[in-house]
Amino acid sequence: MTDPRSVGPAALPRLVGARVARREDPRFLTGQGSYVDDHRPARLLYAAFLRSPQAHARIVAIDASAALALPGVTAVLTGEEIARASKPVRAASKTPAVKVTSFPPLALGKVRHVGEAVAMIAAENRYVAEDAVERIVVEYEPLPLITDMERALEAASPLVHEEAGTNLLVAREFARGDVDAALASAAVVVRERFRFHRHTAICMENRGCLAEYATGSGTLTLRSSAQCPGIVRDVLTDLLDMPEHQIRVIAEDVGGGFGAKASLYPEEIATCVMARRLGRPVKWIGDRREDLLATTHAWDEIIDAELGLDRDGAIVGLRAQVTADIGAYSIYPWTAAIEPVQTISFLPGPYRVPTYRGRTRGVATCKTPLGPYRGVGRPPAVFVIEGLMDRAARRLGLDPTEIRLRNFIRDEDFPYKSPSGIVWDRASFTASLLRAREAMDYDAVRAEQARARAAGRWLGIGVASYVELTGIGSAIPVAPGVPIATGTEAATIRVDPAGKVTAVFGVASHGQGLETTLAQIVADEVGVPIEDVRVLHGDTALSPYGTGTYASRSLVLAGGAAIMAGRAVREKMLTIAGHLLEADPADLVPAAGRLAVRGMPDRSVTVREIARAAYTGVKQLPKGLEPGLEATRFYDPYYGTASNATHLAVVEVDRATCHVSVLRYLVVEDCGRMVNPLIVDGQVHGGVAQGLGAALLEEIVYDEHGQLLSGTLMDYVVPSACEVPWMEVHHLETPSPVTLGGFRGMGEGGTIGAPAAIANAVADALAPLGVEVAELPVTPERIFRLVSRGP
């Protein structure tokens, strides 16, 4: 680990902090992107999956003879056959809080949710493959099923995984102090049963993959719409029993991920097995129905929570129980614990919470597996704590901003250890809220609200402040007990003999613009124009060891590695230049693309000349210096760093239709030192839009038979441009004291703050009616029921 305090300025600090237009854009704008489905190698076969129509049933028999008889059909694969070629996936955990269960790539013995892959067809084209899928006859024997997470905990409930002996796959508790005593003596206690319904990411590119097995060399290449090519490569090594260097995973251009493409999926394994078996390339591209049925779902929690405060509105204790419906399987590598444990870990928020007891439970049901989605656990956590803060403010007659200011972790409290053990390095909770109030002219908006209310309008203002842990290093697993290396990333920076720079990373950009932001850092560190830097990523055969892009980590970890590798290269350039110029390297000053002797601009050498000397003019190198000009460095930020923001939303609820319009939306965020404000703004905008969808529109709905009712984009409604308001984004830049470069991660924050801010705004709009918002999404139907029922 490199001490961030020891790092001085970059060689040529010009680009970090600038609104550099994205370098990946020209290929996307001209239709030259390279997504998985754009690849069609010779002899390609197309795959389609037969998916279970049953939520819980024993597979009695599978007859694929009619499918195989169809012209153009090459092969079929079932659970029993794939079990001979691949181990089942078992998402291991080092903590006893998680019961480990198996996830077979194709259903084995029984199906556990509607949409589970049962058999795979490979055929000459996708149309024929789908025809063949319809001809597979599966005899199912329906089993008693469970779709209600609380009933799944009853002793008589059918078991989703017999091997676990229970549906309770995750149980964990965090505690600090005597919360029972604190709540018993609190002046005010507010409590609520919150419900954050099931959602899903809806990447515009459906999941897909393309496997090629070279029988001659025994190498397997998998192109996948994955966020984490390194993780997929590592696990395939184990599942398929192949050496790691024989497996290459490529995630070139990926059409959105948002966490939903950060897990291993059954189709990736099945496609590899099929390609290996047939010795032909096999491609599977999921359709939107498959995406809604078989891409991980998110959130889906019931949270019972109580917050105690003293007469002045200071928090004395927080007691909560989270119950999460984790669906049918524990996903790899994150396990079923990622959502419920993350929620309970972050529930105390940016506040001083002296006593806490948080219990969390992850319960298996016959639904699509739960996985990470932008914010992971924190959108529900922030909805709950911020909802409780507003309830407390109403009880105490305080303004919602005032009660937060009284309870924030203060600047003098950092580093602050939260009740769940997370250390906040430094953040700007108070400053962000004050700035948000000022930027919105909060008092004026409150006055406007008073006038609107007097006129009978339902206008509300919602505030939400949050803190998230980003750029997580090796001291903390990204998900509880996960036995993989999530705490490091590496950069290889190579200057070729022509003086151009290639920087290779194990992270995998899928919309974040890392080809631009990392190039900005590299250009500054090496001291070359950005045009001379090319960033490669998302290919395990090219990059040093890494896992991928998830958990708001890439800019912090890969950026830190870029600084370290860039400086190593720079140092060698100075040594060589000093030798060539017969000057002390300490006397050399950088200019774009060259190094000159201080005060003597005529005595200079170009990067190209230095690079040429490094490789080919070995006699020009100082005695004993190793030829070549490249460096690989690994960076581990160890704990991670806090990012924070305050969101303010102004909404109006239509009294006739109960439709919610978001009239204003304002964010004051702090992601430390910004590399590219254009990209930071874009991440905030996109995150808020997803949070708005979560708050008002989107919901995965199952019936009591475990049938998915929201199986199209007409039923699962994501926001269009008409539903999303203009967003005003302000930045505070509190450099992280614990990361190289002072960067903090910020890819998820918008989605963490927005559901709570909008929920609180709707609740504020309806406050005169004495009702509370405890359920998201707060759809017109739910609002209608709330206002019809009254307090």
């Binding site: 854009d25 239709g31 515009m204 059409g255 874009g682 905008h685 441009a721 008409c722 999303v724």
Partner: protein, 160 residues
């Protein structure tokens, strides 16, 4: 397998002829038979708009059209937007205003915006939002896109 049918059409000014099953979607014909992979498939039920192209001068969703329905038609796809090695003002504006992130909806968004600005060269922001609401973007929150379309409208009005 059903009888193959001949489809003759023009894409970005170039004549193509292909043979396909009557059930083949136009978007699959464009991507697989013509090799123009810039047009993307997002939902195959006409909601997300990623597959939007220009058919005989108007925007249309190529995932809910059959290739045989486009026999004799003139199509334009994202590959046809750049002229003489120069980005179209819409493309320039999307880059300058960060109107794209993952790039997957971008081709459909560009084609939709192109048709929208043809019918409404001086739109208000509200009209821009309605005009592009036919395409879903999950990355940008639409703000960069609205800014880009507004800027491109001004450039296009400025006489090109």
């Amino acid at each position: 397998m059903a009888d193959m049918m001949t489809v003759r059409l023009k894409v970005n000014g170039v004549a193509h002829e292909g043979r396909c099953e009557p059930r083949k979607l136009l978007v699959d014909f464009i991507r697989e038979d013509l090799g123009l992979t810039g047009t993307h498939v997002g939902c195959e039920h006409g909601i997300c708009g990623a597959c939007t192209i220009i058919v005989n001068g108007e925007s249309a969703r190529s995932c809910i059209m059959l290739a045989v329905q486009a026999d004799g038609a003139e199509l334009m796809t994202v590959e046809g937007l750049m002229q003489d090695g120069k980005l179209h003002p819409l493309q320039e504006a999307f880059r300058e205003h960060h109107g794209l992130q993952c790039g997957f909806c971008t081709p459909g968004m560009l084609m939709t915006a192109l048709d929208f600005l043809r019918t409404n060269p001086s739109p208000s922001d509200r009209e821009i939002r309605e005009g592009i609401s036919a395409v879903l973007c999950r990355c940008t929150g639409y703000q960069g896109i609205v800014n880009a379309v507004r800027a491109a409208a001004a450039t296009l009005r400025g006489g090109r």
